[in-house]
Symmetry: C2
Subunit: 203 residues, 2 copies
């Protein structure tokens, strides 16, 4: 019973996502958001809740639409392939759209007013989850002999995330895909190789 919704909720969310991606959480005003969503303010509130809830839903959509290469990468056979796949896909994502470069999880809130603190923590937690997934995958690689005994999975995960974050900052500053690819290659150049298995027998 009642009137139907006249706008496509997912389309509106996509528009909202682009604005948050470009301007961050606090930098995006409702004037921007409604213009991009093609919908008036009360419609956004009734469909998504307040600004923080709206951002959370945009972030969830970002993960499922644009960050799906991460779970895919984690299934690759070697830790080096995992790292390389994530680096290259991140570069593509960070430079593909000229209207919103970089990464939403970095652009969202790095530093902001006290009002933005909850959203800042959400993004910190999201990055921590990704880093933990990488550490787990690299621990597995170590157990499999894909990484040497001396390798530190936690350090490799933190290092890879640092390079990803740094490239996101650079992409937001307008760096070219080619420059970022060179950065990624440099980061990969010191990736620990497979165990030389001096005493191991390959089955």
């Amino acid at each position: 019973m009642g009137r139907h919704r006249e706008f496509d909720v997912e389309k509106a969310l996509d528009g909202v996502l682009c604005v948050f991606w470009r301007k961050g959480y606090e930098g995006a005003s409702y004037a921007d958001l409604t213009a991009a969503a093609g919908v008036e303010r009360p419609a956004l509130y009734s469909a998504f809740g307040n600004k923080e809830a709206l951002f959370r839903k945009a972030l969830a959509r970002y993960y499922e639409r644009y960050l799906d290469y991460i779970p895919a990468a984690l299934k690759l056979p070697t830790s080096r392939e995992v790292a390389a796949h994530i680096l290259h896909n991140a570069i593509d994502l960070n430079t593909r759209f000229s209207n919103h470069t970089g990464c939403l999880v970095i652009n969202g809130v790095l530093a902001g007013s006290d009002d933005a603190e909850p959203v800042r923590q959400i993004l910190i937690e999201a990055r921590a989850v990704a880093e933990a997934q990488l550490r787990g995958r690299f621990e597995q690689a170590k157990a499999e002999g894909d990484l040497p005994e001396t390798a530190k999975p936690g350090t490799l995960a933190a290092f890879l995330m640092a390079v990803l974050h740094g490239m996101a900052v650079q992409a937001k500053a307008g760096f070219s895909r080619e420059t970022l690819e060179a950065v990624a290659e440099q980061a990969l150049s010191c990736w620990p190789g497979a165990k030389s298995t001096p005493s191991g027998k390959s089955s």
Copy 2:
């Protein structure tokens, strides 16, 4: 002629700097700024100009008070020492103050409203200057044989900056000094070594 200033301009600027460092350009309100400076709004305006001018002066002070390790590092004898010195000093700066972690040049404005675009460009330019200095120093290292012929100074500079930016993001998220030191070590582990001078005679 006229009344004397009753507050210390440099002290006030230091207070302002801390707020910008912690909350970024747009996240810092005049309520925050005046509280930290210990001075009323009109005093800030008469002494420094508007918010953008105030930020520029805080940024200049940041460079001379906290980023003086960069010109010092550029004078070190080898490119590896340059990179290591900058990485370690950046980590210290990013974690030394619990009230304003990370880096002002990153926290300032990454993504924001259109109003913040001028300040965003200022920070992009500041980072570009640092990267160009590094590239110049690494070109010199290459010419001196400190870096191999295959080394790409521009890539090394961009890579080093990426790691620095990534660590600044991580520091702002609360990462420990120890974790960041491990990240820096990983970044340095692939630093190109001195030319092996297979046909060269050491003088």
